[in-house]
Symmetry: C2
Subunit: 157 residues, 2 copies
C-alpha cells in the first residue's frame, strides 16, 4: 500500500487529495482545499500554502507527493505567481520527506479520463468513479485527487 | 539595531547577504550563495534553497527578510522557475518568523546607487563602499546585500 498526496497548487486555492494505492485498487482517504487570505501580503499567503500542506501531511502521512505542473500561462506575471505557490507546496512536501513527482495537466487528464484534452466535468466524473465517491469534491480538490490517481497509474500501483 | 537578511533568489544560484542597520550606519555580517545541484530534480533544488536559507537564518538570526522581486522575464517558463525558487526562499524566511519585504530591482538600484538603471558594477562598487568591504562579494551575494541595504534605507534604519 502506498499513500499518495496529490496537489493542485494555486496562489488563491491549492487543492489536495490523499489516496491509497493498493493491490486491489485505489481508495479515497481525504481531500480539500487550502484557501489563502487574499488581502494578506503574498509572502503570508505562500506561508499559508506551506503550512496547509504541512498539516495535511502530518494528519494523513502520505509518502509520495504528486504535484500538478503549473499550466504555462501566456502571462509571465501569472506564471510567476503560480510558480511561487507551487514552490511553497513542493518544499512543504520535501521537508516532510515525501518523494515528489510532477505531472503535466495533459498526463493527468490522460490517466484519469483516457484523453489528454478531457474537460473538467469528465475528470470530475472519472475521479468520483475511480474512488467510488458519493459526494462531489470541489474542483481543486478533484484536480488534486486526479494527480494522485495519475501517479498511481504511472507506477501501476 | 536590526539585522536584515537580503535574498536574491534564483533556481541555480540564490544570493544572501546579512547586514546590521544601526543608528550610526550599516555594517556587514555575512554573505554568500546557495548553489543548487543542477542535475538534481527541480523539487530537490527547491528544497536546497529552503534549507540553505534556513541555515543562514539559524546561524545569523536576522529578523527581517528583504527579497528581490523576480525580474519579470519575457519567457513564461523562466518566470515560472524563478517563481518556484523565490517561493521556496520566502517560505523559509516566513517559517523562521522573519517579516518579509519585497523590493523591485529598480528600487534596489535606486537605493544603493542612486539611480534605478544602475549597472551591476556600479551596484557592486556602492555595496562595497556602503559596507566598507575590502574584498568583492560574488555578484549574487552583492545583489542580496544590495536588497538588504535597500530595506535599511527604506525604513531609515
Amino acid at each position: 500500500m502506498e499513500r499518495i498526496l496529490g496537489i493542485d497548487p494555486g496562489s488563491r486555492i491549492t487543492g489536495y487529495g490523499v489516496i491509497d494505492a493498493e493491490r486491489n485498487g485505489l481508495s479515497f482517504v481525504a481531500c480539500g482545499v487550502i484557501k489563502t487570505t487574499t488581502d494578506y501580503p503574498f509572502s503570508f499567503r505562500l506561508n499559508e500554502i506551506f503550512e496547509g500542506i504541512n498539516e495535511v501531511i502530518q494528519v494523513h502521512n502520505p509518502v509520495i507527493g504528486a504535484v500538478e505542473d503549473v499550466f504555462l500561462a501566456t502571462n509571465p506575471r501569472s506564471a510567476l505567481k503560480l510558480g511561487h505557490a507551487r514552490g511553497a507546496a513542493v518544499v512543504a512536501a520535501m521537508q516532510n520527506g515525501l518523494t515528489v513527482y510532477d505531472y503535466s495537466p495533459r498526463a493527468v487528464k490522460q490517466a484519469v479520463a483516457g484523453y489528454g484534452q478531457a474537460e473538467k466535468p469528465q475528470v470530475l466524473h472519472m475521479v468520483k468513479a475511480l474512488l467510488s465517491l458519493n459526494g462531489s469534491p470541489s474542483p481543486d480538490a478533484a484536480d488534486a485527487l486526479a494527480v494522485a490517481i495519475c501517479h498511481a497509474n504511472q507506477f501501476h500501483l
